[in-house]
Symmetry: C2
Subunit: 225 residues, 2 copies
């Protein structure tokens, strides 16, 4: 994976950068952004102020590099885990499920990544570029589903794929990473409900009808869906 | 509008806080977050370091207070501007249109607000609380539309209203506030296209079918929709 070209990369230098990044990720698991001072980072790594600033110009640069690294692998894993050769409702279900799993597997790194890509334009651009293959797979799947149903659509398919993926990311962030909002945290208590409801909305958005073949008269239930 | 209770609020104190906030908003229009140093703020306001720190403990506290102030009025205006007594497609169209207008009327303040509410949990909680009446109006409108169509739905209506509003906010942010991504900036060049496409998806998500009475065989066109 390519790293920032700014600093000359010796093996030792790369190891120190890694040490700083790993220490920061651990700190981010128990402290807020404002609480992670330079002192905390130095204490955790045993480095001097000079050594830190040799590698990173600021805390902002450090967190941005971690976020960019994280999002580069994020979508490749999801694409590889999905069986694309099935019904669009099942594809949607898998995508939402794998996004949720990626979050569950590493909530700290996910929270860090989302916090950065939603506010730093450089990181946001890398994020959009890294998820482009996934977005294009979704676009292809919608085209495939429309063709299977011989359906016409008044909705632009590229637009739909952008919107669905954005809404998944933002809503996952809002539901599982924000604390203290009781309306949203009640949704977080039932990931199956969250995944299934959202998959139905993806199907509706893409095809303009319900995935009736998948629903079999079940009514939604927040606790046991 | 209530302000932070931390500091004793004299009239002069409130005026100085306002001066700092207004100066910061102007700076935010031409500089990035990292570029707005304390020096820049002092130069713009004519205040001393001590005077700044008497009012705000950090740049973070300052930007969060501005974001919280901004989002408090944001949704009330939108609720008041909408004619809720019409078809759900038209309601969706109006909501998306007014969100877009709120952004166009003040892009700097909107960008500032979105950047903060998506990353600071306190501001995010205020944001969610302030948009709750709008979300509930959307929920009621979906219930009304379902009842008008005598439609059953496998989708939880509260869930749908949350997801639609989150997706609107995030996608508006991604399309109109991020720079340098050609795929997304092509959508920003046609707000009418953006609004109409999203309104159709809202209708589909809520009712599981197309708003055929509103489409009249038009095909989507990114440039002139």
């Amino acid at each position: 994976m390519p790293t920032t070209p700014k600093k000359r990369q010796s093996v030792k230098g790369a190891r120190t950068r890694r040490l700083i990044k790993d220490a920061f990720i651990v700190l981010y698991g128990r402290l807020s952004w404002a609480e992670i001072t330079l002192d905390e980072i130095l204490k955790a790594t045993g480095l001097t102020v000079g050594a830190f600033y040799f590698h990173f110009s600021s805390k902002d640069e450090l967190i941005e590099e971690i976020a960019v690294e994280t999002c580069k692998g994020y979508h490749t894993v999801i694409i590889d885990e999905i069986n694309w050769d099935c019904d669009f409702f099942e594809i949607a279900h898998q995508i939402i499920h794998h996004y949720y799993q990626s979050y569950i597997r590493n909530p700290v790194l996910s929270r860090l990544m989302y916090s950065v890509v939603f506010r730093r334009s450089t990181a946001h651009a890398v994020w959009l570029e890294s998820r482009k293959p996934l977005r294009e797979k979704i676009e292809q799947s919608i085209h495939g589903a429309l063709s299977d149903h011989s359906a016409q659509t008044p909705v632009d398919v590229a637009f739909t794929s952008h919107l669905l993926l954005s809404s998944l990311e933002d809503f996952l962030f809002a539901v599982f990473m924000s604390k203290g909002n009781t309306e949203l945290s009640s949704l977080a208590s039932g990931p199956d409900f969250f995944i299934r409801q959202q998959a139905i909305i993806w199907y509706r958005s893409a095809l303009g009808k319900d995935p009736t073949h998948k629903l079999a008269g079940r009514t939604p239930n927040r606790k046991n869906a």
